[in-house]
Amino acid sequence: MISVKNLQKKYKGVDALRGIDVEINRGDVVCVIGPSGSGKSTFLRCLNLLEVPSGGSIFFEGAELTGKKVDLDKHRQKMGMVFQQFNLFPHMTVMQNLTCAPMMLKKVPREQAEKKAMELLGRVGLSDRAGAYPAQLSGGQKQRVAIVRSLCMEPDVMLFDEPTSALDPEMVGEVLDVMKKLAAEGMTMVVVTHEMGFAREVANRVLFIDEGKIIEQGTPEQIFENPQSERLKSFLAKVL
């Protein structure tokens, strides 16, 4: 579904990504792990071109996103993204956060958009918060709303950029549970995370990125039980 070829990204002379090749297939749950500053978030943000790559190409459902004549906004509607800092719209209620994009971009009638939003809110246990403003929610609730906001656009793939890193420890579980449910329903997901337990349990593939390159990749068993490279071994020794 997403095919990344020799992806490179330079920031003011610094190489953040140095040639990444990866294929993400429908139904994959790919977890990206690695130390801080390794380029894993940059890699994720390149997938929907929030960061414009310096080199290489990205194909999404057959279209080259890095090509010249691509309607990026159209493709982004199919790629949900969840941020570390939630980035909910603070001037809108939860319901408005959820229905804003579908109504504006897909011309979904209000009634239908709200019905869909309520149904998804119910599935993350927040039906009673539809009228609240983001400031009235806890961190875990905000992130669940942010996930639903992306789901309301009915994306083909969901990108998660350290979705639990800004949360109080007791709220991490509720967000991970939602993500697990999503994965179980067959959503294609790319998750940058420090939650090794989640990666081990939910991912069908794990990428270990360091210094802008994929050092090792494989099933969770291969990565966590039988790491090959010294760097991955020392990384795991520190985080596990």
Binding site: N48, L50, D73, K74, H75, R76, Q77, M79, G80, M81, F83, Q85, N87, L88, F89, P90, H91, C100, A101, M104, L105, Y133, P134, A135, Q136, R149, S150, M153
Partner: protein, 229 residues
């Protein structure tokens, strides 16, 4: 006391000059309100253009034009601009109120642009990213997400600009517009009473400015209570 009242009577009533004060005040209000409107429109256009064109190579010339406008307008005294507009650019028009409104509007636009731009920049960058990641265009995100949030940062500074603008229009007399200041000055000139006409004019400005400041405080408070973040 009676001597002063007699003097007031002589200066304003018997001379028949009293009606110049409301006439002048009306012109001051027209020029200020018109200029504010023009300033907000120009300022918003420039600020949004500069914000959206950041890092977009093709839009560089447009950015440059915006920057030149702001630099030139802010670098020249408003009286000089007024004279240039009246005697050069609109030399064929002798409608001083019109020319003054346009001049102060264009002048204010440059300051408004900076005010609005800093308001836009005060909105977290993640908001634009969230909008874009949902598939909204830059312009759609600007309209629905960024501008509504920026307004609470912008309003107080626009209020200050409004008050400054009101006082700035007192130089409109340079191009033969009878605004409030010129009305007072004409009465002074014709009655040889310097104290009372200028005192009245000063008081009127003061009352309006205090009222505007109170209004801005009220609006700010309303915005703050609407803040649910």
């Amino acid at each position: 006391m009676t001597a002063w009242l007699d003097k007031l009577n002589e200066t304003f009533i018997q001379s028949g000059y009293l009606k110049m004060i409301p006439e002048g005040l009306l012109n001051t209000i027209i020029i200020t309100a018109g200029a504010l409107l023009i300033g907000v429109v120009i300022g918003t256009l420039i600020a949004v253009t500069k914000y959206l064109s950041e890092g977009v190579r093709v839009l560089r010339p447009i950015r440059a034009i915006c920057n030149i406008y702001v630099t030139v307008i802010r670098g020249i005294p408003v009286v000089v601009q007024l004279l240039i507009f009246y005697f050069v650019i609109f030399a064929s028009s002798d409608n001083g109120v019109f020319v003054a409104t346009i001049t102060f509007g264009i002048n204010s636009g440059a300051y408004m642009a900076e005010i609005i731009r800093s308001g836009l920049n005060a909105v977290d960058a993640g908001q634009m990213e969230a909008g874009r990641s949902l598939g909204m265009s830059r312009l759609q995100t600007m309209r629905k997400i960024i501008l509504p949030q920026a307004i609470r940062y912008i309003i107080p500074a626009v209020g200050n600009e409004f008050i400054a603008l009101l006082k700035e229009t007192s130089v409109a007399g340079y191009v033969a517009v009878m605004d409030l200041t010129r009305a007072g000055n004409l009465i002074r000139n014709n009655t040889f009473d310097a104290v009372n006409p200028l005192l009245v004019v000063a008081l009127i400005y003061l009352v309006i400015v205090v009222a505007l400041a109170k209004l801005m405080k009220f609006i700010e408070r309303r915005l703050a209570t609407g803040d649910k973040r």
